[in-house]
Symmetry: C2
Subunit: 233 residues, 2 copies
Amino acid sequence: MTGAGRPRLSTKKRPGDTAREEILDASAELFTTRGFTNTSTRVIADAVGLRQASLYHHFATKDDILDALLSGTVDAPLAVAQRIRDSGADASTQMYALAYFDAGQLAASTWNLGALYLLPELRSERFETFRDHRYTLMSLYAAIASDTLDQLDSERRSGTEDLPFRLVETVVNARADRENGRRDPTADAAGIAEAALRVLGWTGDVTALHRSAETLLEAVVGIVEDRRSLHST
Amino acid sequence: MTGAGRPRLSTKKRPGDTAREEILDASAELFTTRGFTNTSTRVIADAVGLRQASLYHHFATKDDILDALLSGTVDAPLAVAQRIRDSGADASTQMYALAYFDAGQLAASTWNLGALYLLPELRSERFETFRDHRYTLMSLYAAIASDTLDQLDSERRSGTEDLPFRLVETVVNARADRENGRRDPTADAAGIAEAALRVLGWTGDVTALHRSAETLLEAVVGIVEDRRSLHST
């Protein structure tokens, strides 16, 4: 094996600007459609048109690929959640904005990577950093939910703060069922965000809340155009 | 191999009154903790203390075991949902009762089998019957949700009817995270049922709704005592 520096065997087979991105895209497809255990690094290398040795130059193990993919689903919402929490906006606007952003990115990703969250393999120490980041995101959701309950003066029931995060992750299950042939309508990102507020006892004008959340997202990240185009599809 | 009729190799190793139940229990543990692909029928046979040939007498393939386990998570709520729908009770009581029953059984099962719902293996024709039953259950949820929206005169947003079912399935994710070391509180079956109503725009006295749902479940199935003990844990 001549290894890392070797030129590509063939022309570009996958979306992505770099070999690393192509490897991630091919792995995401294979892991979500054939399963993580059923996919070898050899099959991934073949799908990208790389020698296995070149693949190992980018990722030493298959676990490293999985970690990069899963971290990609959590790191953007985590950064956005932290900025939203520091924004000083009112709690219900923060809650809607976070759920709307996160449900939108889970719905719009090329592959339904959230379907891998329940893999038993993720219990190993190798994935501790990913788990920590995901639990930090959950805690930010819970903190914003708790502030929203205070703002609404809703009755507190143990575990209610966990529900907005859980609702957002249902995008993953709805996508999986759609890919599996189910045709009934499912909630879009705005529908999920509205539901995240309702489970906290919120009732009110969702049009006004949606607008203030878009303004907040615009201030927090330059992504409102992406959100809008997502929402309109 | 002398096959099917052969006596057990050892004394009983697993919970269950019959060899079939012990095979199902061991498989549920192995599939949810080590993964479906990572578990061979040989490992299952060893865990139960059976020869592989005897295992094949009960289940011809590993897929048959998975199908029996998954069907077990859907068939009881499906039967209950059909009786609830035919009960003539008011829609919000039906909705609460179904979500409460179903979230309770997902939370109380020995193994977190719902974590297997997103396996790519389930897309094959072998699991068409299971998928059909699960989609029928989803449709019953959606029909009861739609009646509840009518009753509440809530504004209709596409996909809202899908949310009560999705909320109930989040019990699976909350369990998986707890088994993975997360300590924050999560909603119990009653909290999930209340949230299932709130996403439909319901606001009101949850104590009265809980009581009428228990009465309905008592009429529909002789399981209210189980529900109560579930709720109190």
